[in-house]
Symmetry: C2
Subunit: 309 residues, 2 copies
């Protein structure tokens, strides 16, 4: 296996990323299965609705990043697993709420009916709320060290609240029909998507015992990676099909959403994503050492920028 | 001032409770004002919507209980303040989401337009989500001791998630039109309202350094107190006016909600609330000692069972 060699064959990297995502999925899905409620002795349909959205699939990119970052600083998977699951639970709750009629009003998610289509709006709101709480519950209950658990909880809350993901969602809703502006768009992307991806990477590292310098390197990697992810998402909305996306393409243009594609065209947006991926890779130099997880982080960055095209 | 004297004049106890609620409100509102976001550099309207609902008033009963429980075991207010605010933020987010058209569809809350009436549904959902995250953020960021912070976070998550408040809300939605049953109703009330009130009391005690025996006593007090609170709420829905309630009365009956009033009439429900208050007071014997906070807990129990009637 090559060591962070820029000339390494892209196909090999893609293969590495795909194999690791599959491995991480097994680990993460097993833990989620265990930590999701099963029989609530009441609250009819709630456990089912929570499981439906968590088990809808998706790439499990965020928890995979957390596990890779943990390995990259020499940690064991078990140390980062509660945090990795917590991040996925936050991501899932946000998708349920984003899909609601009052928000993006989507009928399909990952090729299946969205939560409110399956269970009704009230249940979708409450299932999202319950997954939101469960994220903090799992993190704080199953992380062995309370000081690390509290630090991870702070990291997750900052990334997902009004200064992070939820703030970005408000930006996004407010931005429809407004003339695009690269700075403003970057700020929206940073909050809406990159903040949680960055937290996934940093949190995984923290759970694995990262030094402050390593956390800085992982944070820089995660921020660039998160931007590249969102830019690629915008590109896929133009170039993808309902089948490859698992959702209706072309929505951004119909809703006049501010995207890099609207601003710079597909090629310009792709060049921007590639620059972010390069920045992400360069940031990893700050990790020091060459633990296997670092190679995985490189592969995941390449994967994100070239997925489904 | 009497010491837990059952013969003490009710008016004095009411006065004690009212005075303490006013004192707690100043402390809690000052901290919330400080910890709520102000300028988010984007996300237009989000900080305003978050503040609107938190600053809508309400009795601040849950944070007051947390502070009183902390004092009852000899703790300083400052130790319980982040937790007290977190509980109020969870309570506030749940009210915003409960009021949504897909849920209880309420236009008025505490005499003012509900969040979705003021800011639209999308913003109301997101403001609720942001307050939900902020609860854990405030708790984990401002509680000095990480081990206590993590324990308080677990307490809060258990009480407010699928096994607690959100589960009870699902029960409540599912229960409309079903013949009332005292056991089932108690389970719904325990989850929907009592779990968070119990957690407020236990968490306040934990923050103040309570022993396990003291936590048990506070938990038993809080559970009984929470039931009494919800039973009284059901009674007020029948006996109250829009002016005293700050919301439209008579909703439970119109929606055929399962309540103790439907089951046992106003007098029967009142007798039940009084029994719970007695149980709450008796549980305090397990606290040991006679610190001032204990007297406050007795006064708050009396207040809850006899408010606004």
């Amino acid at each position: 296996m090559g060591h962070n060699d820029p000339g390494q064959d892209d196909t090999t990297r893609q293969g590495q990323a795909v194999a690791f995502l599959a491995e991480a999925r097994v680990i993460v899905d097993g833990a989620l299965e265990h930590w999701l409620p099963d029989d609530l002795d009441g609250a009819p349909g709630l456990a089912e609705a929570m499981r439906y959205s968590v088990q809808a699939g998706g790439k499990r990119l965020r928890p995979a990043l957390a596990l890779a970052a943990c390995r990259a600083v020499g940690g064991e998977d078990a140390a980062a697993l509660p945090f990795a699951c917590a991040v996925e639970l936050i991501h899932t709750y946000s998708l349920i709420h984003d899909d609601l009629p009052a928000m993006d009003d989507d009928d399909l998610r990952r090729g299946r009916p969205t939560s409110h289509k399956m269970f009704g709006e009230a249940m979708a709101i409450l299932a999202g709320d319950a997954l939101h709480t469960l994220a903090f519950d799992v993190l704080l209950t199953h992380t062995d060290d309370d000081a690390i658990a509290a630090a991870l909880g702070r990291e997750l809350a900052t990334a997902s609240g009004s200064m992070g993901m939820v703030g970005g969602q408000v930006d996004d809703l407010a931005g429809g029909g407004i003339a695009p502006d690269a700075d403003r768009l970057q700020r929206i992307h940073e909050r809406k998507t990159a903040a949680l991806i960055r937290a996934s990477v940093r949190g995984g590292g923290r759970a694995g015992g990262a030094s402050e310098a390593q956390l800085d390197a992982l944070g820089a990697y995660g921020a660039a990676m998160g931007l590249a992810f969102q830019i690629t998402d915008d590109i896929l909305d133009v170039t993808g099909t309902a089948e490859t996306l698992g959702k209706t393409p072309g929505k951004d243009e119909r809703e006049q959403k501010m995207t890099y594609v609207a601003l710079e065209g597909v090629d310009g947006a792709q060049a921007r994503a590639d620059r972010e991926i390069l920045r992400a890779r360069e940031a990893l130099a700050g990790l020091g050492g060459q633990l296997p997880g670092r190679e995985l982080l490189v592969a995941l960055a390449e994967f994100v920028a070239h997925r489904d095209r």
